[in-house]
Symmetry: C2
Subunit: 428 residues, 2 copies
């Protein structure tokens, strides 16, 4: 007999079925016992009356993996409107040792460190697994949107020969006796691949030896990277980002509706055109001094409130960040070269995405490095490529865990990461 899932029970009323999953909970009443079975689709209520089966269920521990064969009956008072009666129960493994928290309670009451120490069981809780389902659905929406717009997926090296981008915060390793570093981003490679495919994306791990212990930082996270050529300026990049975000939310709605319900999350509407303000205007709106070189978190929150009040939007682009605060490969605003063609996207008053137009002329790279007093040599393989014809281009990167945390309202990015890596955590 083919196994069915708990969600398929309603289609099998009157039939004998086979279920399999985990003993989620047992309730031993005087006249009857309930075994709540959890599988990938949800929960199934199994009603046990026969004394021998009841004795068996009494001896089972929570999280033991079992197979149940029984008859499906409609019961309006059962949680899903159906239940399984007259079951036989067969363990598929030895009795489980229950984890140090109750998975059957509505919320996990254990502290986050305890949950992370016991990730393989904590992630079984519906609130934790729902976040990961939303994550997978968002990435599927990301890819689908870009595939439709003729982007090509690439896979680039995660180990590089020189510590670029920011000298600090890199992990060093021994590469067959030579020094090497974990890649902090696929930035350079995705730009080079614009010369091959015009439009590329990558979903992959990036590594930051982040010495700060905060609720927002991980030492490994999943970066959703996009880069496209033949742009006029950063506004073409912002238009693709708008489509990509809308596609990610559509992916979540389509593939993870149950997970949204579990977490009580409503998806935001992405405006057809996301409002945009220039950095200098943003400082005024936030009430910040005109010579501030960057936006502080309090400024971002003020801008988020303004976008909601003025434009009814959860999203706001801030464009024209000062060049001094952006990486050397950032393209300046030709009309105002102290400011950049770089942007941030704020979501509910917090920075979610960074992007912009990049330099595309070899001479501009040499000048940009010279202006910062940086040598060309560590960047040679990257900078040289721009001698061979590169179109105007730009792109952006979305941190997947931050995206999911902000969407679900998780206070700590670790709540939406299966096995986080940080300053303190290298296991499990």
């Amino acid at each position: 007999m083919q196994r069915i899932l708990s969600s398929q029970l309603t289609a099998h009323v009157g039939a004998t079925v086979r279920l399999a999953g985990w003993v989620h909970r047992r309730r031993l009443l005087k006249s009857v016992a309930f075994l709540v079975l959890r599988d990938a689709a949800g929960l199934a209520q199994v009603v046990v009356a026969a004394p021998d089966v009841r004795a068996q269920v009494e001896a089972l521990t929570e999280e033991t993996v079992v197979e149940v064969v029984g008859t499906v009956v409609a019961n309006p008072t059962a949680p899903a409107g159906v239940e399984v009666v007259e079951p036989t129960v067969r363990p598929l493994g030895p009795p489980a040792v229950p984890p140090p928290f109750d998975l059957y309670r509505p919320a996990l009451t254990a502290s986050l460190p305890t949950q992370l120490d016991h990730a393989s069981t904590a992630l079984r809780h519906p609130t934790r697994s729902a976040a990961l389902r939303i994550s997978a659905a968002a990435v599927a929406g990301f890819r689908a949107t870009l595939d439709r717009q003729r982007f090509v997926e690439v896979h680039t090296p995660k180990v590089v020969g020189s510590s670029t981008e920011s000298g600090a915060n890199v992990f060093a390793l021994d590469w067959f006796g030579r020094p090497a570093y974990l890649a902090q981003s696929p930035q350079f490679y995705k730009q080079l691949m614009v010369g091959v495919f015009e439009r590329v994306y990558e979903v992959g791990p990036v590594f930051r030896a982040e010495p700060h212990d905060t609720v927002r930082h991980l030492a490994q996270y999943t970066s959703l990277d996009v880069e496209l050529g033949f742009v006029t300026d950063h506004r073409d990049v912002m238009a693709v980002l708008r489509e990509t975000l809308a596609g990610m939310f559509a992916g979540v709605a389509e593939r993870a509706g149950g997970a949204l319900d579990t977490l009580g999350v409503t998806l935001p509407a992405v405006p057809a055109e996301i409002p945009a303000v220039h950095f200098t205007e943003a400082l005024k709106i936030a009430g910040a001094p005109a010579d501030e070189p960057d936006l502080a978190p309090a400024h971002e929150r003020a801008l988020g409130e303004w976008a909601r009040a003025e434009h009814g939007s959860d999203f706001l682009f801030v464009t024209g960040y000062p060049m001094a605060k952006r990486p050397f490969y950032t393209h300046p605003d030709p009309a105002r070269p102290t400011h950049s063609n770089g942007f941030d996207l704020l979501f509910r008053g917090m920075e979610l995405v960074t992007g912009g137009q990049r330099l595309h002329r070899h001479a501009d790279y040499l000048a940009a490095l010279a202006a910062r007093g940086e040598p060309v040599e560590p960047y040679a393989g990257y900078v040289d490529a721009f001698r061979h014809g590169m179109p105007p281009h730009g792109g952006f990167a979305i941190g997947l865990e931050r995206f999911v945390a902000r969407l679900t309202g998780a206070a700590n990015v670790r709540e939406v990461t299966a096995f986080p890596r940080d300053l303190h955590r290298l296991t499990p």
Copy 2:
């Protein structure tokens, strides 16, 4: 005027259009000059008659990025049946320095090391980019097939606290002052996630400090990992692998037909049921001694010929490999415990995929490690998870670069890798 792609010219005969791309080649005849423009979709022939534009084109170098505005006319003698006449040409950057090989020739004549040294331009050659398009399409097919079968995509740590699986061949790194290692596979994590989602997959980088300099080995490659719970044995895993492979080829057919034509590749048919032979039978077929513990490449070739002759199949499963040659987490064949419920899939006489059923009982892990004289401690976080209820499960892993190399007939896996990493190569 909106830019169009070279592939859209036939739909615009009689109209004025804007193209943009790279100067692929120029042919300067006495009466007329041809500029062949390359964009992401292919090539466009631009006919230059006006003396001033001709002088401009004569001064252009190959690989310079330009924009062309002109009129589309049908011409049966033009390569695509259409060409662009009376053009204006506007460079979008400075004149390009041509790469050290001609990208317009049918084949790249430079040696593979030269190509890899100049990857950002060599990958622009249609034969090199075609392989990467096939790669992206195969991964899209992989995901689509598994998504349909309710697998959930996961992202797992690439840095781990202990060097497991095989003590050798790991890259060591400094993790905030503590020793750590690059993950050789997501094996343990994908198994743990079976306890959460029942069925999971991951597409991500894996790292092997492979000291051998061969055409088949990379120090970083992209692993397509699958794991599923509630299996009866390895045959359920093989059935999913069969569907996955068929889906990967379907993805390539659907999304990368042009790339297949470029490389002259015909997709193999995946039989509805891939033939399978037991390891002991495979030794007989290959003419190997009955006490051989593994299949040598020559044996695999003989088996490939046998599968083609006997079953008309490019694919052959070999099951029941001796336990001694499989990892400690491999599930033995209950009827014959010296042999495993592990399998390899041969494609045209070469191993393409390894998989099998895994142990799922905590006590079995302890016994398996003890039998190999290995301590439990380095595996504690992994092995402990099996105390909390894990279903019978199994899975497989496909090396993406090997898959594409075997499909396209590439002699060296580096030919189908954008920026390979190996014993010698850490740049670009």
